[in-house]
Symmetry: C2
Subunit: 421 residues, 2 copies
């Protein structure tokens, strides 16, 4: 690759960074893709790893394999520690630096605990593959320990799983966990009846799926309760510890708590020394550049971007991909001599969430779908968006297997010695 070409550095191979790189195919640039992990993660299906339906390798693929045919792209496994804006260099934690002409930060988000980081030990969130295997391990261990527990109160606390946050991730976790307990594990234990497992979904607001139309929130609540989930609305969680979770006046003894509420952006704003919102998202210009640095872009969950009506662009994969394409078009225009800033316009495709393996809620705005038709549409859409034929095939097979036999295939408790996996 010609070293004199315009050098674009991308940090983060999530949906935004990868779509950006794809959109620049054929442009007169050379690209360096930096990620601290070796794999792109298909986050929309991560909850299925956490609940034993899919294997880790079915939702994650090596970045350099995805980009292997792009001779203009160099992939580096490295951890970024800062950005030298004046010197136009990305700083790595091992002391190296990578110079750029244009920089794209697409570094995503982690979960946040609203100032209560001490809750993380008791209520793991779901953002990485390790998060998913940690949650899978905790769920499966709760049943194993319950099987050996003779104290009825302790046993009930082990058979109680609380999920904090009623967005799509919380709803999807609740639905698949209750099915795991009530259907798939049934008959495998001798001292407990897994059908007595309580799954409680706790949402601080007055309805779950708050981004959906209210009638879909109602539908989802009823569908979850039919599956056996208890939905608790209107009271925020004020405490998580080894005993359980407190919301309002209620103390719910629960040995397993999962965190699906609140995200915080990656440290991109800190690297830049740029202004950020309370969740840490960089306050970018309408064209997604960093104020004062038109050669630096931030996209996806790391960026705070407003829609014309003043609402924020949501932290979903389609938004990140649209932003990635927008920045690619901007760079191509600049290289062609047109430096006019083009504001990013978000096109909202819709919202969707599954409820167990037989229902879903889909809100396209102009049409709303529920029940089995929505579930099938959701499944087809996700298989379509999976990267690479191998994974489409593998995921389809896994789902078909679950659908036909009612059994999940990845019920592994790994790394029992510590809580990291």
């Amino acid at each position: 690759m010609n070293e004199t070409r315009h050098h674009v550095v991308v940090v983060g191979a999530g949906f935004g960074g990868l779509e950006f790189t794809r959109a620049l195919d054929g442009a007169p640039v050379r690209i360096t893709m930096i990620d601290k992990r070796n794999h792109h993660l298909f986050q929309p299906l991560l909850y299925q790893v956490a609940t034993t339906a899919l294997a880790t390798s079915e939702v994650a693929w090596p970045i350099r394999h995805l980009l292997r045919k792009r001779k203009d792209v160099t992939t580096l496994l490295a951890t970024v520690s800062g950005v030298d804006r004046a010197g136009k260099r990305v700083l790595l934690d091992d002391g190296d630096a990578v110079a750029y002409d244009t920089l794209l930060l697409a570094t995503g988000a982690r979960h946040a605990y609203f100032g209560h980081d001490e809750w993380e030990n008791f209520a793991p969130g779901l953002k990485t593959l390790e998060d998913a295997t940690t949650i899978r391990r905790r769920i499966l261990l709760a049943f194993e320990w319950a099987e050996r527990e003779t104290d009825p109160a302790k046993r009930q606390a082990l058979l109680t799983l609380a999920i904090v946050g009623g967005g799509p991730t919380g709803v999807e976790l609740a639905g698949t966990i209750v099915e795991l307990a009530h259907e798939m594990l049934r008959g495998e234990f001798r001292n407990i009846d897994t059908r007595q497992t309580r799954v409680v979904l706790i949402e601080a607001g007055d309805r779950i799926l708050p981004n959906f139309a209210p009638e879909l929130s109602d539908y989802a609540s009823k569908a979850l309760e039919r599956l056996g989930v208890t939905v608790e609305l209107g009271r925020p969680v004020t405490r998580c510890d080894a005993e359980g979770v407190v919301f309002g006046e209620t103390h719910l003894p629960a040995r397993t708590i999962l965190w699906a509420a609140g995200v915080a952006a990656s440290p991109a704003a800190e690297w830049l020394g740029a202004a950020a919102d309370r969740a840490g998202r960089v306050l970018v210009e309408p064209d997604l550049t960093v104020p004062g640095n038109p050669e630096i872009f931030v996209v996806g969950d790391a960026a705070h971007v407003l829609r014309p009506d003043g609402r924020m662009v949501p932290g979903v994969a389609p938004a990140a991909k649209q932003q990635g394409r927008h920045v690619a078009a901007t760079i191509e225009a600049r290289l062609a001599g047109d430096a006019t800033p083009q504001p990013f316009r978000y096109k909202h495709d819709g919202d969707l969430a599954t409820i167990g393996k037989r229902a879903a809620a889909i809100d396209f705005g102009w049409i709303k779908l529920t029940g089995r038709p929505a579930w099938w549409l959701w499944g087809l859409a996700h298989i379509y968006f999976l990267i690479g034929f191998r994974n489409r095939l593998a995921v389809s097979l896994s789902w078909l297997w679950i659908y036909v036999t009612g059994q999940r295939s990845a019920r592994l408790i790994t790394q029992g010695d510590d809580d990291r996996n």
Copy 2:
């Protein structure tokens, strides 16, 4: 289950313990299966997880799911800390105890470093799922780091992988790693040529696959060298550290060292306070009972069992399964009133090892196979022995995919923060 029935406690759900439990189906006993992991591991295919060909969930299945239809079996996830022979109780590390009438210890083996436990950090072995993901991570990270390394000597050390031990595991690791480097990763890096990767198989004896007929050892050496593996014979390893491995006068700079030499039995002998061989295997009576305790049996890799010709029964799955069936028959005979000790007789089915994805060596004694026919027979045999249709299907699909496309599907670096996974 009738609490007054004869109570059989099994520790370890490997090949021996599981086969034993299956053979006792319908017997007038109740069985408690104790394992510290929630899954049975199909160890013969573990090297394929370590080398990215199979996902973890394709070689491991929940024990209680395998035994779900056996209402006479209770499965416990628990760690054994000792055996109270006088009180006939298995002691658990959390202070609980499980009383038995008959006890089967089928606790397997770990790798051993011949008194050099400090080598383990530098040269991980392959016995558990976590071992496999650790090795997978180290192999993949070596290439990632080489891509960023500018010092030629350090880069070459990163691109050198040493495997210690020329038994089937070492041969299989060497063959799949060299194919990964020379074929599958080719073209994905920009600063290194993965075809320059050196894979060195180090065996202290004068030939690899020492349990096979000499002509098969020769064949395997030649087949490995054709793939690009360097085979080093006749010099034992005297040092492993962060710089590499020393054998004889040779110091080989290698950042990745894998340990496939030497096993040590589980602490079953310590639990019992029983006599053991140097590797820790319990010296059992010909009927597999512990001397002085006819109600305690030890099978599989945890037991030292001699064949009529004085050689030891090898530590392979068929031997453990045969022993499990033998003990089940002994218990049934005793319950029927016949307490005559029956000596175990090992029937050796043969030895087999694959060499990459196109060759294998099979020694049935009366017939020896090599090349592609052996590889296909090996593949069919392993699919046949895989437990559960789902995994047969999934593994077949994964292998077919690799065979047709040349790509492997589980190239994940997980748990980058520490060395445990």
